[in-house]
Amino acid sequence: MITTSDIPCLPRGVRLHFDQVRDRWVLLAPERAIPLDQVGHAILQEVDGARSFGEITTALAEKYDAPVSQIQEDSAGFLNALKNRRFVDLVS
């Protein structure tokens, strides 16, 4: 599982893309296009390969006025699923 000190990053070949035809954000990865909901997009927008998971979730909690614990739970599940598919890398 991802910890607060882990630094998530999008590896080469994985990028956010606005799908104009379907009017939504997608994550483009090798031979995959993953449609993102607002929450998924909000999280991935913060992933810059520099800030830690802790810093990202604190920022999101402030931005959306939500408890950090809730944001961390949601984001950890989402990022872990992406990590298992090699769409996100973790640097510790």
Binding site: G13, V14, V21, E31, A33, K83, N84, R86
Partner: protein
């Protein structure tokens, strides 16, 4: 009901290829060099595809590196906003070309593996020295840092090498491996006696994949296409006909799948003659097997019709002579037992059955060929 826009497009840039794999998915009637679309027409096709809703572009062939304008094609696809995936044997690529592809914005490389030893890989590919060269190209791909997927076509002769293929994928730093049991279309139909896996091998492949998926979770993603001839349920071919993807053949014919030309009653529009969106939404070939109006009663009344859509149309054509029939892999097909028995007979042959290799595309007859067209085709 209006279909959804397509997500993926396979651009078969050329049918030329240095390899001669006996399971090649290209049609038996290969497109001639002179009929290949030029750079500009491909670029326009990529642009139309992106505006239609395509996100993923697979640049394939034949061997796409046989096109001298490959770098320009990648650049134009990226300009159109597409995610670009190069599906290659590696033969025809060198360090300089890979650096140019990197600069042009190529997103991802899918490298084919015919076997895990030079002996077997070169025998299957019909190209001496191919394996060694491919491994060199794979190292250059890793050095540049392209995300890499290996793709392995499994059959009776190489199935025992699957564990080694997983190791090679890790050694090369691949994030993904596609393991597809040979699909019997096109050239593979001629090689069923040589390539059909046994029922035991088909089971063993499933076991090996499940084991590796557990052990390599988070390191190597494994996509798997199991053998279907020995199965009871047909495959969800293309994710549904005309629902998610389309192909453009080297000569511009727009196909719902790479084997669609084996269905004789279908006619195909060309990208140089009609807008791609019109072809996708109104083309006769795309509408032929959308929905359930075409289905036999067996499929129409089946509770799996939204899951597998009656299976593969090209397989129904190849094995029953009727493209509208239930895929005979399905236990409900009247041809099912016959096909199962055939599969066992094909699989019972020894591994000394000679391979029928794919032959290179024809060149047009000399009297039809003017110097001008030859130059254009090779530009």
């Amino acid at each position: 009901m209006t279909p959804e826009p397509p997500i993926a497009m396979l651009a078969e840039l050329t049918h030329r290829c240095p390899l001669a794999c006996p399971y090649c998915s290209n049609p038996l009637e290969l497109a001639m060099i002179e009929s290949e679309l030029d750079t500009k027409t491909w670029a326009r096709g990529f642009d139309e595809a992106a505006r239609l809703g395509v996100l993923q572009l697979h640049l394939s062939g034949g061997e796409p590196a046989s096109r001298r304008d490959l770098v320009a094609l990648v650049a134009s696809a990226r300009d159109a906003g597409l995610y670009t995936n190069l599906i290659t044997s590696g033969i025809g690529l060198n360090e300089a070309k890979l650096a140019q592809l990197d600069e042009a914005g190529l997103d991802h490389v899918q490298l084919s593996l015919q076997g895990t030893t030079p002996e077997l890989a070169d025998d299957i590919g019909g190209y001496r020295g191919g394996f060694t060269r491919k491994m060199q190209v794979a190292r250059w791909i890793s050095e540049i840092g392209f995300p890499l997927t290996l793709n392995v076509v499994l059959h009776r002769r190489n199935l025992h090498q699957l564990p080694r293929a997983f190791e090679i994928a890790q050694e090369l730093g691949a994030r993904r491996i596609e393991v597809a049991t040979v699909q019997f279309h096109g050239w593979a139909l001629k090689n069923r006696d040589a390539l059909m896996p046994t029922k035991e091998q088909a089971k063993e492949a499933i076991r090996l994949v499940n084991k590796a998926r557990k052990e390599l979770k988070g390191t190597l993603v494994i996509d798997f296409v199991p053998a279907d001839y020995h199965d009871q349920l047909p495959k969800r071919c293309m994710g549904g006909w005309g629902t998610t993807g389309l192909n453009i053949a080297p000569d511009g014919q727009v196909l719902p799948c790479h084997a669609a030309q084996t269905i004789p009653h279908l006619t195909f529009d060309r990208v140089q003659e009609k807008p791609l969106s019109e072809i996708w939404y109104s083309g006769a070939a795309f509408n032929a097997y959308r929905g359930d109006a075409w289905m036999p009663d067996t499929c129409k009344t089946c509770d799996r019709k939204e899951i597998d859509f009656g299976g593969c149309r090209c397989q129904a054509m190849a094995l029953t002579g009727d493209p509208n029939a239930t895929d005979p892999v399905c236990a409900k097909s009247p041809f099912h037992l016959e096909v199962k028995e055939q599969a066992q007979q094909h699989a019972a042959h020894g591994n000394d059955v000679p391979l029928t290799y794919r032959v290179p595309p024809r060149k047009s007859a000399p009297q039809q060929q003017t110097p001008g067209t030859a130059r254009r085709a090779n530009a």
